[in-house]
């Protein structure tokens, strides 16, 4: 285990780039998913407001963001399904590619270690362990950044300016409406983790099964 951390620390620059790329891959969907749930909260809050405003409805409808939200968000399950599909497509296209690059970048080291007698299984496990540590770091950072930025991201995407926010804050219980949604985080990160682990495991097979000398020569 100590040697795995040694391996990670000795490749610090490569690993930092890898973690940044993973964060870039993980974050958009978690932000979008939260936006979806915030949007749904706002729209249902808006329905309550519309009823209470009655004839004064036009006053609120000047804020065109409400109509946009209706179109984008309030198609209920369809948009949620669309979000999940987008999540899966993003994950399946970007994450395996990152895993492949990660495995390739370890090719030389794994080749040398295999030439010194490291078994295929141990090489595979070593790569997977390194990757789990790096991916966990990227996930923790993504989660942290999501918590910091989800509200401003959602507000900017939904077109909620200060004036609108004041109207909503004055009339509704917005604390829950704007809250971080655990369901959103679950959808976003669980797919990403599953795709990362599966693609990492498969890419590692490619590297750990390659002939040691070929790996060394290829990455010289």
């Amino acid at each position: 285990m100590k040697s795995i951390f040694t391996g990670i620390s000795k490749n610090s620059m490569k690993n930092i780039i890898y973690i940044i790329l993973l964060i870039i891959a993980f974050m958009p969907v978690s932000l979008l998913m939260n936006t979806y749930f915030i949007g749904q909260g706002i729209v249902s809050g808006f329905d309550v407001l519309r009823e209470s405003y009655g004839d004064n409805w036009n006053l609120l409808s000047q804020h065109s963001w409400l109509f946009n939200i209706r179109v984008i968000i309030l198609s209920n399950m369809t948009s949620l399904v669309a979000m999940v599909i987008m999540q899966i497509i993003l994950s399946i296209t970007i994450l395996p590619f990152l895993q492949y690059l990660f495995s390739l970048s370890r090719g030389y080291e794994i080749g040398v270690m295999r030439a010194l007698g490291l078994g295929k299984g141990k090489a595979w496990l070593r790569l997977l362990a390194e990757n789990i540590i790096l991916t966990s770091t990227a996930l923790a950072l993504s989660l942290g950044l999501t918590i910091i930025f989800y509200k401003s991201f959602a507000f900017s995407l939904l077109g909620i300016d200060n004036e609108t926010k004041q109207i909503l804050d004055a009339r509704l219980d917005t604390e829950n409406m704007y809250g971080l949604n655990s369901e959103a985080l679950f959808y976003a990160f669980s797919t990403a983790i599953a795709v990362t682990l599966v693609s990492s495991a498969l890419c590692n097979v490619l590297i750990s099964n390659s002939a040691p000398l070929k790996l060394i020569q290829k990455h010289k």
């Binding site: 000795k10 030389y108 270690m113 030439a115 010194l116 007698g117 295929k120 000398l213």
Partner: protein, 219 residues
């Protein structure tokens, strides 16, 4: 007594001509063997085959009477083989000490304090304290070669396979490396197999194996 033997060994790359053809030889402990031959004659290929890094197209390699094909070659390399590559093949971002500790971990060689053991080994090969802590890529060719030899010796293997270990070194460094290898064979009863172009290296060998397309042996 022979503990590493090759019987009717042949090898070729892809669909090309045979590089090694019907080679027979026995290697004994405590002796130095020099593989002499022109570039492309198959010296490195033979070392790779002896290390179990590749498979012969025909014939056998036997270690203690057991065919390599029938044993776990990763374990064979980890336990019995110390490999010195022509291009050193060190872990570039690791320092000299970590390179040796990594090899010891792979071979599961047990000592009380691995770090101290690695330091002592490097010191005995003339790598001073300052250089031991540098990334190996920042060391000179001669120093990298010494680290590679230290790595090969670290788990006290029976066999050292050295691929042109003096190829890129000046005369002073060459003499140092030769001395280390001779000492290792005689004092620790190891079998050292060296591929070389150097007459100096061949001069210290107990046996010279001339590698051509069809090998022959001078004693």
């Amino acid at each position: 007594m022979a503990f590493l033997e090759i019987e009717n060994l042949s090898y070729k790359y892809g669909h090309g001509d045979l590089v090694i053809k019907n080679m027979n030889f026995s290697f004994e402990a405590g002796k130095i063997y020099a593989l002499l031959g022109a570039s492309g004659a198959g010296k490195t290929t033979l070392l790779s085959l002896l290390a179990g890094l590749d498979n012969p197209v025909e014939g056998k390699i036997l270690h203690n009477g057991v065919e390599l094909k029938k044993i776990n070659r990763d374990r064979y390399r980890a336990k019995y083989i110390g490999m010195v590559f022509q291009q050193f093949n060190l872990l570039h971002r690791f320092n000299a000490i970590d390179n040796i500790i990594m090899a010891m971990e792979i071979s599961k060689y047990k000592v009380e304090n691995r770090k101290q053991y690695a330091i002592n080994l490097l010191e005995s090969l003339g790598i001073d304290e300052k250089k031991r802590h540098r990334k190996v890529i920042e060391l000179s060719g001669g120093e990298q070669q010494r680290v590679a030899i230290a790595r090969a010796l670290s788990h006290k293997p029976e066999i050292i396979l050295a691929d042109e270990p003096t190829g890129s070194l000046d005369e002073a460094n060459q003499a140092g490396i030769i001395e280390i290898l001779v000492k290792s064979a005689k004092e620790d009863n190891r079998c050292i197999i060296i591929s070389t172009h150097s007459r100096d290296v061949a001069g210290v060998a107990d046996k010279i194996i001339a590698i051509e397309r069809i090998p022959y042996i001078n004693k």
